[in-house]
């Protein structure tokens, strides 16, 4: 689960971010503690804290002293805009690279996307 894609603390942060974007943890509500995440994902508690703190530093989560960790207002938009930037790197680049290998030109690629979109809807 945590192998081969960046350090474990970043993977945990990405996972929590996914849940915030998906609306599992709505803005203003509490998220599980770093300890809970550690036990749930069977990972080192210090590593889990590091992952949670990454989101605190980004402003997606905030600490209420003595109570716990909460999703900040605007966290969804914040994380979504960040992911839009990553979209190019994570999806567009490999897509175009593979298309080149398979000799699929851009026009054909456009067509494939349109076709797929129609099938989905």
């Amino acid at each position: 689960m945590f192998v081969d894609k960046g350090p474990a603390f970043q993977q945990l942060a990405a996972k929590i971010a996914d849940e915030i974007v998906a609306g599992t943890y709505p803005e203003g509500t509490a998220v599980p503690s770093a300890t809970d995440f550690a036990v749930f994902h069977q990972m080192n508690p210090a590593t889990a804290s590091k992952g949670v703190n990454l989101l605190v530093e980004m402003g997606a989560l905030y600490k209420k002293r003595g109570i716990g960790m909460f999703v900040a207002a605007g966290a969804r938009d914040l994380l979504r805009s960040q992911r839009r930037e990553e979209f190019r790197k994570q999806y567009m680049e490999p897509l175009l690279r593979e298309a080149r290998v398979l000799e699929i030109d851009v026009a054909e690629l456009h067509h494939m996307i349109d076709e797929h979109e129609e099938d989905e809807t």
Binding site: M1, F9, T47
Partner: protein, 299 residues
């Protein structure tokens, strides 16, 4: 941060065999540290020395600020069950659980009971008839229920089924967060256990090869794979730890962090570059002739 375990230049010889050759590393208080390496690398000898069951021929070992050997006040705060722990012939589980608190002042019977039930350890069978997995289960019960400030787990997974391994992880983390302690765990099941660790120490042939924060260990080596010509060209400027060739294709594990220059070169030559996993790293250091990572690479 204070260190729970400190080993300085420890050497241990048995006759003409050098089991430990100038071993130095420290484990900070509260760390869960993986001790990794091949069979015969020196892992159990290191643990015996930390547990005060053995003394280095030369060098120094301190646990919780004191030398452990014949030091009762420190020994009562250390838990160590060897991977080949023997029990008296007629012992059953009940005997072990009755006597364990004598050696472990923080013994917690609830933790022990939960593990015994979860592992399904037989209570009516002599321990000498236990399977490998059942012996491992007993060792984990002793290790975790002791709640010792320094807990040494030597190959805790041997023979354990997948359910039992998950139970072990779960209990270790739950009890650790409620009662923090320092854990040193040796294992060959690296991929399965690495996310438990915040530090790793890799030993080979009695010497420390890696002593690092687990996140930083990712930058200690990377792998290059592609055509032999491309990989040879790329690897020229790096220290190769391990290489693997099959008809025109080659894969090497090299020392150091991959920088943008080597990424660009690899791209240009059509070779694939990937970070070395902890498992790759341990395998690479376990091969003949690999050199230790020097101070600069240490955390």
């Amino acid at each position: 941060m204070t260190n729970a375990i400190e080993i300085q230049s420890a050497t241990r010889t048995f006759g003409r065999t050098t089991a430990l050759d100038g071993v130095s590393f420290a484990v900070p208080e509260g760390s869960i540290c993986g001790l990794l390496g091949r069979n015969g690398a020196g892992k159990t000898t290191i643990m015996s020395i930390i547990a005060g069951q053995d003394r280095p021929t030369s060098g120094r070992v301190e646990v919780l600020g004191h030398r452990p050997f014949e030091n009762e006040s420190v020994l009562s705060r250390i838990s160590f069950v060897r991977d080949n722990q023997r029990y008296p012939d007629n012992y059953r589980l009940g005997h072990v659980l009755r006597i364990a608190p004598e050696f472990a002042p923080n013994w917690n019977a609830d933790v022990a009971a939960e593990l015994v039930e979860g592992f399904r350890i037989p209570t009516r069978t002599d321990i000498k008839k236990f399977s490998r997995g059942q012996l491992s289960s007993v060792a984990i019960v002793l290790g975790l229920a002791s709640r010792a400030a320094v807990t040494l787990l030597d190959e805790p997974y041997l023979g354990l089924d997948v359910t039992a391994r998950a139970l072990f992880h779960d209990m270790l983390l739950r009890d650790y967060t409620a009662h923090p302690r320092t854990v040193l765990l040796s294992t060959h099941l690296i991929e399965e256990s690495e996310k438990l660790f915040d530090r790793v120490v890799v030993v080979d042939r009695g010497r420390v090869r890696v002593d690092s924060d687990v996140d930083e260990a990712r930058d200690l080596a990377f792998t290059l794979s592609g055509t032999t010509a491309a990989v040879d060209e790329l690897a020229r400027r790096h220290t190769v730890l391990r290489s693997h060739t099959v008809s025109g294709l080659k894969s090497v594990t090299v020392l150091g962090a991959a920088d943008d220059a080597v990424r660009a070169d690899a791209d240009g030559l059509g070779a694939r570059l990937a970070p070395a996993s902890l498992q790759d790293l341990v395998a690479a250091f376990g091969e003949e002739g690999s050199e230790p990572i020097e101070e600069g690479a240490r955390a």
